[in-house]
């Protein structure tokens, strides 16, 4: 790993943290849970790492522990992602959807 690559990654990390802090300012209490749930679904982004991990592991013919772990990670991350977005959608339809329909 080149030092430049590491520095670039750390820069990304810090900038994204600043952005995250600025992104959320005033949120009505009603939306706290859906926002948490939606953000939680996004944190399932580790699916990318799991996919790459699973692929490389089987690539080396190491169909043992390493690949198995990555496969479990794919399943868990996918539950997090799909379940998270679906449940957020359900909540928002109940909270925000009613508002438009009722008005």
């Amino acid at each position: 790993m080149e030092p430049e690559f590491l520095i670039a990654n750390i820069t990304l990390f810090l900038l994204a943290i600043f952005l995250g802090f600025e992104l959320i300012t005033k949120v009505p209490a009603t939306l706290h849970t859906p926002l948490m749930s939606g953000a939680n679904a996004i944190s399932g982004i580790s699916i990318i790492g799991a996919l790459i991990g699973a692929n490389v592991a089987f690539d080396g013919g190491q169909t043992t522990l390493s690949g198995l772990l990555a496969f479990v990670a794919v399943v868990l991350a996918m539950i997090n992602v799909v379940g998270g977005f679906a449940v957020t959608n359900r909540m928002l339809n109940m909270i925000a959807g009613k508002k438009r329909g009722g008005a």
Partner: protein
């Protein structure tokens, strides 16, 4: 090809950013959620393209596709099946899975080094071991912490037909233990750089991190649970970001740290609504054993007929739902009550929503929306408090601390917490199992006021009784 892959990741990162932004506003929230989902789709497709066209291609389609499909089906099934009342638990569970996935990826990478003996050197070794260690720490902690939080939200677990309550236990000496555990993990991470293939460090870090998640959540009472779940959510984002450092993937770093930071801000917002600091939540357990005030006063309970007579001809009724409504799941009976009152007396019905009523912020809104209560009738605390003096009856259903006038006094555990001014109403009707104290462990003066009528019992049964009584007037 490489360029296209970078553009794919850039697009997905942008979708996440706009998605999170839009999730914070009521009108745009559903669209924000869709943007987030689209971002995830783009990221997954980009990764699969990257795997197929760079290096040696996708090695085993069945496994990759199988994992994706299996996870999607389980996740979707759980999200669709869950009752609205079980929503907070499910969010906690998904959160735990996310943390575990990040930690497993880190573990898988390290296992690969151990199996092949092909460890990186120099800077790459340091970065990999530090990132893998931190990812493991945060990821495993998130898993065990979230699982415990889930059972705390549920209230207990059924083992062989016996209901075991989830304990809340946190003596003061546990706090230094948490610090020692955390430091020992950090030390092990540093030592693992010297010996990357030493499995003792690997399993040691995992074990201690799991314990750490449990001791962190164990002392925290149910009312603070939303804050903890939000904090764990933030942590699972950070775990994903660390995993991004291991495999050198930019979208993981961006999305992970975005969620980490915005989750932390959300945690602070929630704390603020309860007038607590994050440190208080984590290290000062709230309403633990022994702190609860003894009850010296008594109050005679009323019955449904008496309350119904008083409700006769009421012009304006404000319903104050709380934790108890969620537990007894009586939101449909509450809506029915509102219908009866509206039809019979033309009563104006409103609902006063405290920011932390229930088990999650917004919990009351979701439950009442499920019972088809019009959104316009759900009024936030600050807006409705001025209306209580002109309201005939405040009907408090299973809410305690959020209506306790003691919070205004500036003393005790509730000091300064904003409350619903139910005591300003002409008459207060409270449906509650007993006079017992809430999570804060403070006796509630509201129960003993002359204008207060107590209906002792389960929310659902009491509401049903009240509905029948009102119909018969």
């Amino acid at each position: 090809m490489e360029d296209w892959i970078s553009i794919g990741y850039l697009l997905s990162a942008a979708l996440f950013i706009f998605g999170l932004k839009k999730l914070g506003h009521p009108r745009t929230a559903p669209f924000g959620n869709q943007l987030g989902a689209m971002g995830m789709l783009v990221a997954v497709i980009t990764t699969i393209v990257q795997m197929q066209f760079t290096g040696e291609g996708v090695v085993d389609w069945t496994l990759i596709a199988g994992g994706l499909v299996l996870g999607s089906l389980i996740g979707y099934w759980m999200a669709v099946k869950v009752e609205m009342t079980g929503m907070p638990e499910l969010v906690a569970l998904f959160n735990g899975f996310g943390g575990a996935a990040s930690a497993l990826v880190a573990l898988s990478e390290i296992q690969k080094y151990i199996i092949t003996g092909d460890t990186p050197v120099g800077l790459e070794l340091t970065v990999t071991m530090v990132a893998a260690g931190l990812s493991a720490l945060v990821g495993w902690m998130t898993l065990t912490g979230s699982l415990l939080a889930m059972y705390k939200l549920k209230g207990g677990i059924e083992v062989f037909g016996k209901w075991i309550r989830t304990p809340t236990w946190g003596p003061v000496w546990l706090n230094p233990v948490k610090v020692v555990l955390l430091l020992s993990v950090l030390v092990m991470i540093v030592m693992s750089i010297e010996e990357p293939t030493n499995e003792t460090y690997l399993w040691g870090i995992i074990g201690i991190s799991c314990v750490l998640g449990i001791v962190l959540v164990l002392p925290i009472g149910g009312a603070d649970m939303p804050v903890v779940v939000s904090l764990l959510n933030s942590l699972s984002g950070i775990a994903a970001a660390f995993t991004g450092f291991i495999i050198g993937n930019s979208v993981l770093i961006i999305a992970g740290s975005l969620v980490g930071a915005s989750g932390l801000i959300l945690t602070f917002i929630m704390c603020k609504a309860m007038n607590r600091t994050l440190l208080d939540v984590l290290f000062k357990s709230f309403g633990g054993d022994g702190e609860k005030q003894d009850l010296t006063r008594t109050k005679v309970g009323s019955d449904a007929d008496e309350v119904a007579m008083m409700l006769d001809g009421a012009q304006k009724v404000i319903i104050v739902p709380g934790y108890g409504m969620a537990v007894s799941q009586c939101q449909h009976a509450v809506k029915e009550f509102a219908n009866i009152m509206e039809e019979k007396f033309g009563t104006e019905i409103k609902y006063a929503i405290h920011p932390v009523a229930g088990r999650m912020p917004g919990h009351m809104n979701v439950l009442l929306a499920e019972a088809n209560v019009p959104y316009e009738q759900l009024i936030e605390m600050d807006e409705i408090n001025g209306e209580f003096p002109e309201c005939d009856v405040a009907l408090v259903i299973g809410a305690n601390d959020t209506t306790n006038p003691a919070a205004r006094s500036g003393e005790g555990p509730l000091a300064g917490m904003p409350i619903i001014d139910a005591d300003q109403a002409r008459t207060v009707v409270i449906i509650k199992r007993s006079l017992s104290v809430g999570y804060a462990g403070v006796d509630n003066d509201l129960f003993y006021m002359d204008k207060t009528m107590m209906l002792f019992g389960d929310g659902k049964a009491m509401m049903a009784g009240l509905n029948t009584a009102v119909k018969e007037i």
